[in-house]
Symmetry: D2
């Protein structure tokens, strides 16, 4: 049985849930999960619905069109529809750290991360052997000061060629240019190695050590123009003490980074996330 | 059997531990706990020692003096000695929130917070009934713009009169003037309702909500001249989601605040904390 | 604006959500929150709905009756309706430990625990002064081997006289007899000082120490005939190490106990919990 | 500069620390870390010392012998000495689950798990491709009812041939026979997918779901004769809710399993663990 996933938001009004659930009921869909959220300050309504039904691609297109005509327009809805059996294509950007890459590849390979990975791209050659281990194409695109524009074009060409849907920055130590961000709004996922908004930018473990915090963190967020300031998807923390040096922060933090990033990627690939006003609504 | 607690730090050298443990052994003390820490970057040595022995006050004074002559001067030690049966006197500063105050009084009353509480002082009258419930003197000292100097004098007079050793700011919503901070270095403990250094200053729960974080925190720290920037004693965090409004952040946060503050107070009262370079070394 | 809370469960069928949301829409209720859960193994449907509307007591009664006639019977629903402005009356049973009692009274007094507390009952006199501090009637009912039946009668009389809706066992060290459990099904809340199902029964901290666990826990659950085996409402854990003795387990654990118990009480008093097949469904 | 690690325990007496630190000082060792623990109930003393010095293999042997003659015998010490540059050889036993195996191999490969891995052995062929990915010898040794004795002999032969120091059961779904346990006391590390002592034995996630717990856990422990009852090295927990089915427990739990197992392996490989009375003392 195929599953259809519907994410929607609209201005909050009476009767939205009833209208949507009636529509689905009348079109022989069986709602297997519904979750909703109302942002009272913004007076905005958000809903996540999972529907079981006998949808082929043409049913799916018809369902979408009818839904919009019958309900969507009236309630001024912004909707996204997905078929759960069509996996997102996710490009992986890395630099030299391997811990997140290993986790992404291992979990994707064993079916726990529901996406396909058309290629890995890096500004260094260090992780090419890991790409080879997992038989995934690896592109080495150096990003020096003078080659930035060139790298950007190569990145965009690769992303287009492979019909990529989303990008993960798996400890990719370069700024993503706005030309790429604009093509992938709320579709580029970064892992930052601090508990944002504490310690944005470079060397957060060093800053955390310097400040003498008792807990460190990691944050996965969507990339926006402003550095480390996009919508937060997932965070987690772990205790440290005065006995830990910067190198201990880094080791403990790397375990957090990969766990937090993988949780965010799974949520994204399972279409559980909406963004709104620079925040995420996570239907989990 | 009385216990003596020794906290010390000095430049790191060979032979410190052996020298100290030998000294104690030779003076009929039985070391029941020893913990040490070396800050390699600063090349500084820190040690916490608990000694069982038959110390009366004069033995104690003699022990201190001999220790300094025999070892302390040679190693350039900075030492603090305590007898575990002499409790610190802690003044409690509050404004209008009662959750930390209730915890402090309940835990002190049931013997889990090893201090005496000579008085509670507040810039409001709201919590006076709680002071009465626990039969603790309550002083109402308003702090308006024009009365700040006056309040400071009254505070200092009270602190002196009661021989206060340390101060807890249990959600006291006023800045402590430097004249008071100078008299109580590393002896004024604040609870800040965020995961510092994220969201210092006023209204951190509102800022956390605005940023869309997935985890909120609380931080207990020693008060220094710079606001919310003193040595961190203890922190903890709790998960939130897009479904939580600011009022939910506040409610969840208050549980963190009181737990984190009480942990910090217990560590302080049990003389488990040293401060150094705006950080804490916590022997726990 | 008053709020009506509806909790319901029934066999899972198509169209339940649409039927319920339509009904409420047609009766001028505004659904401000809906949450639902389907147990696929049992094929059971559960829903929590919060409705804003202009309900007085007679509207409320009429709403309930019409709901059942129009929908409830058809779907074989089991329903509970509450008006959010009518607080539950909760009796507090204690023995000698004060940490949970202090938290319950402080949080209820400051409005964070939405219930009234008609009385405290204990098999010891130790906590009577705390009841006095908070001006709550205290009944001392000893429970010796030979007086058990007598105590039971006194308890039942008190509970009846005060129209009690629910009971909290705030470290009450006695078994509750089935005659009382039968009158309060899913309405007696206990805090057990272990991570159930590990270490049920007496002295769990001693057993946890003996086993050498690295984490201890606390569990709040509804009381059923089988000791420490009722539906679990809330649990939490905290790290320990080989350095902690039983007394440290107890101290750390007490912080968990009061936090976990208070969370469970708040969920219960805000009518967020349903029980089914010896488990809880918590709409949070 | 090489490092020597000394782990020791003995009956608790006055003067142990001073004797040991003096000895090391006199033999030109520089103590860079010392940690100790006294079990008061058993009156047992435990110490972990890290010493920097210019040790070659013969210095090392001489140091050990002299230490025992000068101090060890007198205090009835049980000691283990290690040179930090000599890595343990760890055999990996698996069945069909890949999540722990991937983590072990990735972390060992990138230098975060300080051991060598001479081979992987499994009762199934499923994970052979992963062994190949990492170029590690893979042995398929089926364990059927009638072939158990045969498998045991093959295991023992492999372990002997490769001079294995320790074994990790990375979700190896077979009981280890006592003939192997006897050869590797406190040297076989298992990961159990529950918060022990809750849910020992088979299918703990199913049992946890059945019981309706709100938190699940994972436990890494040394293997002893009694199933899932050996000394616990490390545990961790994660929240679940009524919304999670058994398959969600399994997915969430697998993240715990690999994190907890890796922490335990790192502690073991860095010689941070002593066992005593079926508990671990972890110097961390």
């Amino acid at each position: 049985m195929k599953k259809l996933i519907l994410l929607m938001h609209c201005p909050d009004k009476k009767g939205i849930i009833a209208a949507v659930t009636n529509f689905i009921h009348q079109h022989n869909g069986n709602i297997v999960y519904i979750d909703q959220y109302v942002d009272r300050i913004q007076s905005a309504f958000f809903m996540w619905i999972e529907v079981e039904g006998d949808f082929n691609q043409s049913d799916f297109e018809k369902f979408k069109a009818t839904f919009y005509d019958d309900i969507g327009r009236h309630f001024e809805m912004s909707c996204s529809f997905y078929l759960s059996n069509i996996l997102p294509k996710m490009a992986v950007f890395v630099s030299k750290y391997d811990h997140c890459l290993y986790d992404i590849l291992a979990q994707q390979r064993s079916g726990k991360l529901a996406c396909s990975i058309p290629f890995i791209v890096s500004n260094h050659r260090d992780l090419e052997p890991i790409a080879k281990q997992f038989s995934i194409p690896f592109y080495h695109i150096p990003v020096a000061k003078e080659s930035k524009k060139d790298a950007e074009s190569k990145h965009l060409a690769l992303l287009k060629k492979h019909n990529v849907n989303c990008i993960v920055l798996a400890r990719y130590m370069q700024i993503i240019p706005s030309n790429i961000i604009d093509v992938f709004p709320s579709k580029i996922i970064n892992i930052h190695h601090s508990f944002l908004p504490a310690f944005p930018g470079a060397k957060p473990y060093h800053s955390a050590f310097q400040r003498g915090v008792k807990i460190i963190g990691a944050t996965s967020h969507y990339v926006t123009e402003e550095l480390d300031a996009g919508p937060i998807i997932e965070q987690d923390t772990i205790r440290v003490s005065h006995e830990h040096e910067v190198k201990d922060f880094i080791l403990k933090g790397q375990d957090l980074e990969r766990i937090v990033l993988l949780r965010a990627l799974k949520l994204h690939c399972e279409r559980k996330i909406m963004t709104y006003n620079n925040k995420t609504i996570v239907f989990n």
